[in-house]
C-alpha cells in the first residue's frame, strides 16, 4: 500500500484546486485580513481560522470530489475484483490525503507566522499535530457520506456548501463572536469546526486543559464520521 500512498500524495500536489483552495486562498485571506483589520490579536485569530479553513476545504470538499470521481469511473467496483481489500486502499488514500491536508495547513501557519511575526514554539507544533490529524481524518471520513449521497459534482457543491458555510460562519474563524447574538454563541459551542479552531488556538497558547478537551471532542467527531462513512459507503451508482 506504500505505492498507493505515495502516488496519491504525488497526484494531490499536482492538483491546481488543492493549490488554490487549500494553500493560496487561506494564505491570501490570512494576510489580507490580518493586514487590513487593525485589532490586536486578530492576526493570530485569523491565522488559526485560515489553517482550519485550509483543512476543511481539502479534507471535506476536495476529497468528496475525488471519491465521487473514483466511484463514477468504476474504481471501487474494480477494487472488488483485485486481491487488495477495499479497506486497505481506502486507508492508504485517506492517509495520504490527511498528510497533504496537514502539510497545507502547516504551510499556512509558517507563511502567516512569518508575515505577522507570530512565534510558534516546538511544543506548540507538537500539540498542533494531533489536533490537525484528528480533525483532518474526521473531515476525510465525513467526505465519504457527502460523496455517497451525491450523484454529480453539482450535488457535492450544494451539499458541501450546506455543511461548510454554517460551520464557518457559526464559528469565530474570521470574526469575534463576543458581541454576536446569544443563539450564535450557543451554536458555536456545538460546532465541530469551532472545536477544531479552539484546538489549534489551545496548541499555540500551550493550554493543555483546553487542548485535551478539544482533542477529545475531535476524536469523538472522528469516530462518528467513521461510522457514517462505513454505513453509507457506495461501490457504484447502480
Amino acid at each position: 500500500m506504500k505505492k498507493i500512498f505515495g502516488l496519491t500524495i504525488k497526484s494531490a500536489f499536482r492538483d491546481p484546486y488543492l493549490l488554490f483552495w487549500s494553500i493560496l486562498l487561506p494564505v491570501g485571506g490570512c494576510i489580507l485580513l490580518g493586514l487590513f483589520i487593525k485589532v490586536p490579536q486578530y492576526p493570530a485569530r485569523i491565522l488559526t481560522g485560515m489553517m482550519a479553513v485550509s483543512v476543511l476545504l481539502f479534507a471535506l470538499v476536495t476529497v468528496a470530489f475525488y471519491t465521487l470521481a473514483q466511484r463514477r469511473r468504476g474504481v471501487f467496483n474494480l477494487l472488488r475484483v483485485t486481491p487488495s481489500p477495499l479497506w486497505q486502499y481506502i486507508s492508504a488514500v485517506s492517509g495520504a490525503w490527511t498528510v497533504v491536508s496537514v502539510v497545507c495547513s502547516m504551510l499556512v501557519l509558517v507563511i502567516g507566522g512569518l508575515v505577522f511575526g507570530i512565534p510558534v514554539s516546538a511544543v506548540s507544533v507538537l500539540l498542533l499535530l494531533p489536533i490537525l490529524l484528528a480533525a483532518t481524518i474526521g473531515y476525510v471520513f465525513l467526505s465519504f457520506p457527502v460523496s455517497s449521497i451525491s450523484k454529480t459534482e453539482g450535488h457535492i457543491n450544494i451539499i458541501s456548501n450546506l455543511i461548510i458555510l454554517p460551520l464557518m460562519f457559526c464559528s469565530d474563524a474570521f470574526y469575534s463572536l463576543e458581541h454576536a447574538p446569544g443563539v450564535l454563541k450557543v451554536v458555536s459551542r456545538f460546532n465541530p469546526f469551532q472545536w477544531f479552531i479552539n484546538g489549534l488556538r489551545s496548541s499555540l497558547d500551550v493550554d493543555i486543559t483546553g487542548w485535551l478537551v478539544y482533542l477529545s471532542l475531535l476524536a469523538a467527531l472522528l469516530l462518528v464520521a467513521l461510522g457514517l462513512a462505513v454505513r453509507t459507503f457506495r461501490f457504484s451508482d447502480k
Binding site: 505505492k3 504525488k10 497526484s11 469511473r73 472488488r80 486481491p83 487488495s84 447502480k238
Partner: protein, 233 residues
C-alpha cells in the same frame, strides 16, 4: 479443456425488475468467449456476477480457485482510471493492487506493447478513447492473469482503434490467456471469439462457435443469426 467459471441458473433483480433470468454458462480454459446481445440485455450484470462484484439473487457461481481474484484481469465498461494519474502511474498503481512490483523497465515494456510509450507521462484522462482502452487492457495484464474479462472493450472506438484492441485480444489469446468479453458488435465477435453466447432479455438465446451458430440457425453472418433469434413475433 477445464472450466474456469461455471454459473448455474443465475438470477439478478434490480428494484423488482429481473435483469438476468436463470442463466447458466461456463468459461473454459484457453478460449475467447464472447457474450453478445443488445444494450440492457444483462451482459454487464452477468459479468459482474461471474466476477463476484454483484451477488446473484438466485443460482450459483463456481470458480476454479478460491483466490481467483489474483488471477483475473478485469476491464469494466467505464474505464476505471485513477484521476490525475499518468498512464505510467496508473499501471504502477494497478500492479500494486495486485501485489505485483513492476520495474521501470517492465512498465516501459508494457506501455510499448500497447503503443503508449510516448504517452507514459500523459494523464490517463487526457488520452484518446482508443489509447485509454489499450491502457485498460494493459492494466488487466499486470499480474499475468489466467483469465481476462473485458466489458465492451471496443465500444465507442473508431475502426483503427477497434482493430488495435482486437489485435491485443488476439495476442493475449495466443499467449494462453482465456478471454471473456461482452459486446454488441457482431463483426468484432466473429473476428475475435472462438465461442459465442448470444443473450436476449436476460437469457441465453443460443451458444456455440460462430460457425456452429451460422450452421444451426442459417444466415450470412452473426448479425443475421442474432436478428432471427431475437425477432419480435
Amino acid at each position: 479443456m477445464s472450466t474456469l467459471i461455471e454459473a448455474k441458473k443465475l438470477i439478478k433483480r434490480f428494484k423488482n425488475r429481473e435483469v438476468v433470468k436463470g442463466l447458466s454458462m461456463e468459461v473454459r480454459e484457453n478460449e475467447v468467449l464472447a457474450l453478445i446481445g443488445e444494450n440492457g440485455t444483462g451482459k454487464s450484470t452477468t459479468l459482474s456476477m461471474l466476477l463476484g462484484i454483484l451477488q446473484p439473487d438466485g443460482g450459483t457461481v463456481r470458480r476454479w480457485r478460491e483466490d481467483y481474484k489474483a488471477h483475473v484481469g478485469v476491464q469494466l465498461q467505464a474505464t476505471p482510471f485513477f484521476e490525475g494519474y499518468s498512464a505510467e502511474e496508473n499501471l504502477t498503481l494497478f500492479a500494486a493492487l495486485y501485489h505485483v512490483k513492476l520495474t521501470k523497465q517492465e512498465i516501459a515494456e508494457r506501455l510499448e506493447q500497447c503503443g503508449l510509450a510516448d504517452a507514459k507521462k500523459t494523464p490517463a484522462a487526457r488520452l484518446s478513447l482508443g489509447q485509454q482502452k489499450r491502457l485498460a487492457i494493459a492494466v488487466t495484464t499486470v499480474q499475468r492473469p489466467k483469465l481476462i474479462v473485458l466489458d465492451e472493450p471496443t465500444a465507442g472506438l473508431d475502426p483503427r482503434a477497434r482493430h488495435e484492441v482486437r489485435q491485443m485480444i488476439g495476442n493475449l489469446a495466443q499467449n494462453g490467456v482465456t478471454v471473456l468479453f461482452s459486446s454488441h458488435d457482431m463483426e468484432e465477435v466473429s473476428r475475435t471469439a472462438n465461442r459465442v453466447i448470444l443473450m436476449h432479455g436476460g437469457r441465453i438465446a443460443a451458444e456455440g462457435t460462430p460457425e456452429e451458430l451460422l450452421l444451426a440457425h442459417g444466415g450470412e453472418n452473426l448479425e443475421e443469426v442474432y436478428m432471427k433469434l431475437t425477432a419480435v413475433t
